[in-house]
Amino acid sequence: MPEIKVAIQAPVGLHARPASLFVQTAKRYKSDIRVIHDERSANAKSILSVLGLGAGKGAELTIQAGGDDAEDALAALRSLISDNFGEPA
């Protein structure tokens, strides 16, 4: 299963608006997408599960995707995170 590793730079971590954007982005793909942080794993399409990871600023995440559009999904999530969730620098 393809996977990527990313680090969260947003000051609020993967909470609040970044979490909401992350889940909205994941929901656009058919693939099953999991986010792993500190040995916890969450469904990337569930806001409650993603918040439950408690991934703060600097958290390192592994994202795995399985399905026809897995590569696209990972690319989209990677660019969302590397763009710092669209927040101006």
Binding site: H15, R17, T25, N43, K45, S46, I47, L48
Partner: protein, 604 residues
């Protein structure tokens, strides 16, 4: 006398009896249910009803309190649509044959507990959200009446272990002096809602609040985060004095807001309110509205199976004219489209409801619907200062057809010898870029314009503000938007017509000097924004505002314009602060600085 210490989460002082807020405990018994399909259907029905309630609540809170407060309920809506939560519920129902309510509560509690365990203030508030949202669905499934939750019968200080957003929003506000909770931090729901309501609050006061007897005398100091139980006479006097000072200042601000908005050099502009029903009309007057710049009529049409009759509509509009007296009241005709479910309007699901068959397009295509509303508005305007306004105008032909329909309604009323307003002023919303660009043409047919910035910005920048990936393009200070506004005002004034604004921008303190400088005649906003708007207008001469606008219009980006506007607003006189009265002997050692919501908080 006893002092409890917490966090001052919303400023102000309340003195009154304690009301111990007891939650109506909903006991959900574990029950086996063999018909899983039936239980799941109940869940779906319960969710649907809860979503409708939350949407209505978010709308109401948005109108009456503010968008930061409404976001709480919007977040709860998202949670009720969470796939993992729903999967967990489905699993409990189908594999373990548990009844709908119990399954929902079990699954919800598991998610809430997981968030609460992470020991983070933000996540603790989200845990409270999950519990609040789930409890709402459970109450619906059990048929428990929300209104059965008991609030105080006399004005009191609400004392509670914790308050959910639904608890707070459900209390009768005329009976609430302030809030004191055992748990919670400065960013908790209670804090955010109390600030929105302008009521003092102390949160995080700890278990000690359990020792507060019902109806005990309390002093709540939201500035310092202190609660005094059964105060002695000297303490009471100190706080009464301080409260009186604050009250004088507040009364001053409100009284000032009651006088008409006038610039420092004596030029009159109108500051009006956006409202949706009779209650908000009353609130508008209390906040100093000089009129209503936008009455949304959608409330009459939503959540019902048939078209509201002419009599129903007339009664609703007339009730509002009774509150407003001879002050101007602008009634906007139906502004609805395919994003809403209104069975009797023949709406279809559309690919692009905001570019589709809605508002005036729908009304012009269904004269039988439109005529009923026009007749009701004309009748309500009899011997009152009512104006009619048509939404979503793109083209002058539409205005002509609207006016033709209005004349037909008048002719019919005349034949029936029903009294109505014969010389009603006819305005249009300018919210489609085409209307702004061709404002000179529209000004030949319309008596006034009202700029609907919320949609004007979305249509001009081609961005849906609710889509988080593009919402950054929603920029009220964008040079393109400001140029459109300048153009609309210029075209109208040239034709001798006046221009108002009823979008959120009109009540935004940063935007007011700029809009004043561009020549806007009427500012219509949510009622609670009025005193500040009048203060800003009163501290500026028209000339100074004009010069500021001219300078600002040359800047190339929204960011630079906004920075300039912030700097400019800072140069205006600020209201006097509360006179300092020493209460340091009572509380200063533990006084914590009171948190103020910053722009960053609101973004959350």
């Amino acid at each position: 006398m006893k002092h409890l210490r917490g966090i001052g989460a919303s400023p102000g002082i309340a003195i009154g009896p304690a009301f111990i807020f007891q939650k109506v405990e909903i006991r959900v018994e574990r029950r086996d249910a063999s018909n899983a399909a039936r239980e799941w259907a109940r869940i779906e029905e319960g969710l649907k009803a809860a979503v409708a309630q939350l949407e209505a609540l978010a709308r109401r809170v948005h109108g009456e309190i503010g968008s930061e407060q409404a976001a709480i309920f919007e977040a709860q809506l998202q949670m009720l649509d969470d796939p993992d939560l729903l999967d967990a519920v489905r699993h409990l129902i189908t594999d373990r044959h548990i009844s709908a309510e119990y399954a929902l509560q079990m699954a919800g509690e598991e998610f809430a507990q997981r968030l609460a365990d992470l020991d983070d203030e933000y996540l603790a508030a989200r845990a409270a959200d999950v519990r609040d949202a789930i409890a709402r669905v459970v109450r619906i499934l059990l048929g428990v009446d929300d209104s059965a939750m008991t609030g105080p019968t006399e004005p009191s200080v609400i004392v509670a272990a914790d308050l959910t957003p639904s608890d707070t929003a459900g209390l009768d506000r005329s009976k609430v002096l302030g809030f004191c909770t055992a748990s919670g931090g400065a960013t908790s729901h209670t804090a955010i809602l109390a600030r929105g309501l302008g009521l003092p609050a102390v949160v995080g006061a700890g278990e000690a609040i359990q020792s507060v007897p019902s109806r005990a005398d309390l002093i709540l100091d939201g500035d310092e985060g202190v609660v005094v139980v059964a105060p002695d006479d000297a303490t009471r006097r100190v706080y009464r004095d301080r409260q009186a000072h604050v009250a004088t200042r507040l009364a001053g601000a409100r009284a000032q807001a009651q006088s008409p908005a006038t610039t420092a050099d004596g030029h009159r502009v109108e500051v009006a309110a956006n409202i949706g029903d009779v209650a908000s009309a009353q609130a508008a007057l209390e906040w100093g509205a000089e009129g209503v710049g936008l009455l949304r009529t959608e409330f009459l049409f939503l959540e019902r199976a048939t078209l509201p009759t002419e009599e129903e509509q007339y009664a609703a509009y007339r009730a509002i004219t009774d509150v407003m007296g001879q002050r101007p009241l602008i009634i906007r005709t139906l502004d609805i489209g395919g994003d809403k479910q209104v069975p009797y309007l023949g709406l279809a699901q559309e690919l692009n409801p905001f570019l589709g068959w809605r508002a005036i397009r729908l009304c012009l295509a269904q004269p039988e619907v439109f005529q009923v509303q026009l007749r009701a508005i004309l009748r309500a305007g009899h011997e009152r200062n009512v104006r009619v306004m048509f939404p979503m105008i793109a083209d002058v032909e539409e205005v002509r057809r609207c006016k033709l329909m209005l004349r037909e309604a008048m002719a019919a009323l005349d034949r029936e010898q029903v009294p109505f307003a014969r010389d009603m002023s006819v305005g249009i919303m300018v919210e489609i870029p085409a209307a702004a660009v061709a404002a000179d043409i529209l000004a030949t047919e319309a008596d006034f314009f009202s700029i609907g910035t919320n949609d004007l910005i979305q249509y001009s920048m081609a961005c849906d503000r609710t889509n988080e990936r593009v919402s950054y393009l929603y920029q009220p200070f964008h040079p393109a938007i400001l140029r459109l506004i300048r153009q609309v005002i210029g075209a109208a004034h040239k034709a001798g017509k006046w221009v108002g604004m009823c979008g959120e921008m009109a009540g935004e303190p940063l935007a007011i000097p700029l809009l004043l400088g561009l020549g806007l005649d009427e500012f219509s906003m949510s009622p609670s924004a009025i005193p500040e708007a009048k203060r800003i207008i009163g501290s500026l001469s028209r000339d100074r505002a004009r010069k500021f606008a001219a300078r600002t219009m040359r800047l190339p980006t929204a960011a630079e314009i906004q920075t300039e506007a912030e700097r400019f607003l800072d140069t205006l006189a600020t209201p006097n602060d509360v006179p300092a009265v020493s209460v340091s002997a009572l509380s200063s050692k533990h006084g914590r600085s009171r948190p103020r919501p910053s722009a960053g908080d609101r973004k959350r």
